[in-house]
Symmetry: C2
Subunit: 380 residues, 2 copies
């Protein structure tokens, strides 16, 4: 397998873009990517688009508008891991030598749904049963608080930290800090989760340029190296499972650490799938950046702050940056690219050289049976 | 790149399955595949599902039910080329050494739409303008008849041939021959196309096992070799284009012939994307198995019959076998696998050793701006 680099990143700011389709948002992000990297569309050998709700031939509808015309392109779906799956396939194409230059992007317009639970399919039995995502995470939260002595105030600290981070991010859906009072008085969604413990449904798009070493040198933009790209699916269980242990995250991360030759203690920053505040506790422990049952302590001690032991979601995370499903896995990599190339501005994590991105999505037949993706990036 | 083989194929018969979801149909096909090949789900390193309308996490919803649990799986969308795109990614994974064994399947339930044009997206401008698929192909037919002297009777011959082939196929949606009178008196859809010049919207699923040479030997089932796997997208045009020349098919086929080291004259059979009778004329010419403007003559002379110069759609094609969008690209490969391993029964093409499969779909911004895939298979 060849070394693979990211040589550019671009984002259509997340938020509410009711007038724009997923194709419009994706077009904006990819156009910015080509402008930033000063490359022409002919250089792109292959394109991968991650989206859950963007419709048929979305990759073509975006890429043909920027002039990627004739090359193979694909739209990939893997729930919240759709964008990261697109990136994984781009990485695989370049690593295997099948391509020298790939564009991976994610795009989504969730405003189109007008609110309510996002359906996995037209007859989604979990939604019919009321097991929507906030309910599933609320159950996990109840169990975590019961088992490990965390409190609702600990969940609130996650929201406060990530909103504080996102307040400095011009690409974030929410760019304002929140107080403990605001979080604790926001309306209940699924006990113990309140509105400000939940990420918003957002619209947005993000794109990265994935290329070989030779081409990266030729393009001449700042680059980072993809040291690991791993996708896994959930394991089917009908029997008891520990709701406080996201097995899918642990397995995916383990494979990524092995591929990268990196330990959790080597990480300077992590962009984590904090779809709900409890998710940061669960996944931080499964990623190995906090001991089991101790993530809330790490947060209380400032260890996950931007200047802490390991910055967790310095860009604001899903809680602040927002969550346009297919775009999230890519924007995490964009933000990490800027961190590792010293371009993160007010978001910059000091001396960042190793970063990890993590998305996990879906929940069919149980609490973590969807898809998960972990990427580990290092400075070049 | 390593040699890649197909070591098994299975199909859920095409037709109307209103009570089954796309996941149910896919589950049936993959279950049959595991039974046929006598392998356990643990052997599968990765899974790719092709579908346009099956919803989120479809690959997981199918594969977890057969016990593929934990491995990376992806759902891929590329309109009518979705299934073939899934196969291409499986081929790439095995060819590059990233996987030894992949399952590629396609599944779709179109009954759920209840009739009418299939939307590409929620605001499909082509459908709003009336440029639905039958209309697009009708315009191409008008031009082809005008330019090359074919007649409506020539279009009818395509339907008669492919329905005759499909009459012997137990997996086909339509298993009855049709007469010229029946075709010519079926109701008009888009002049000159009548109902029996159009493929049906079908439900169905198909699956293949893709593996390395070593694993193929170990499994011990009959195998064929994938000699070429090529996906391309349409080229954007707003100016004049020749509607009788499907550039996307020609470009994709040219790359496939080069990769395989095979010429059109080497082909014993072709499974072609005959979504409409005119499509067989257009694509046969672009695939190089008939001279430009002469495909109708080849059909009239019996050259595309099962025992002719090159059998075209000996399984019945889309016109007879039906067209569950995401499944079509995979079922073509299943049928070709059975042909090249001498298991095609009443459909058998004599001494078949080289086969090509072709799908093309979509039509955004023009007549052939979607996705196209060509696979070339040879006997092992």
């Amino acid at each position: 397998m060849r070394e693979v680099h990211i040589a550019g990143a671009a984002v259509h700011p997340f938020g509410k873009s009711r007038g724009k389709t997923a194709a419009d948002l994706g077009y904006d992000a990819v156009t910015r990517l080509l402008t930033t990297t000063s490359i022409g569309p002919d250089l792109i050998d292959v394109g991968y688009c991650g989206s859950s709700y963007g419709g048929s031939l979305l990759a073509q509808r975006v890429l043909q508008r920027v002039g990627v015309s004739g090359q193979p392109v694909y739209t990939v779906e893997n729930a919240c891991a759709s964008g990261a799956s697109a990136l994984h396939l781009a990485w695989q194409a370049v690593a295997s030598g099948a391509a020298d230059c790939a564009v991976a992007f994610g795009t989504e317009n969730l405003s189109g749904f007008g609110g309510g639970a996002l359906p996995l399919t037209t007859n989604d039995i979990e939604i019919e049963l009321g097991l929507v995502m906030p309910a599933a995470y609320a159950m996990r939260a109840q169990r975590h608080l019961h088992d490990f002595g965390a409190t609702e105030a600990d969940l609130t600290m996650v929201s406060i930290k990530n909103r504080r981070n996102g307040a400095a991010n011009p690409r974030a859906h929410f760019q304002a800090e929140v107080s403990a009072d605001q979080v604790e008085n926001s309306r209940p969604v699924a006990d113990p989760l309140r509105l400000l413990h939940c990420c918003p449904n957002s619209d947005g798009a993000a794109a990265v340029l994935v290329c070989s070493s030779d081409l990266a040198r030729e393009i001449g933009t700042p680059t980072v190296r993809i040291r690991a790209s791993v996708v896994r699916s959930g394991r089917f269980h009908t029997s008891y499972r520990d709701m406080t242990w996201p097995d899918i995250t642990a397995r995916t991360a383990e494979a990524a650490y092995e591929m990268a030759g990196v330990r959790p203690s080597d990480l300077d920053l992590v962009e984590l799938h904090d779809a709900f505040s409890i998710a940061e506790l669960l996944h931080a422990e499964a990623l190995g950046i906090a001991a089991r049952g101790k993530a809330h302590r790490a947060i209380a001690d400032g260890e996950f702050d931007r200047d802490g032991r390991v910055a967790v979601s310095p860009s604001g995370g899903l809680l602040s940056r927002g969550h346009p499903v297919g775009a999230t896995g890519v924007v995490q990599v964009c933000e990490t690219y800027w961190q590792l190339t010293g371009q993160a501005g007010r978001l910059q994590v000091p001396a960042a050289s190793v970063g990890l991105t993590h998305v996990t999505g879906g929940g069919i037949y149980g609490v973590d049976n969807g898809a998960c993706a972990v990427h580990i990036l290092t400075s070049d």
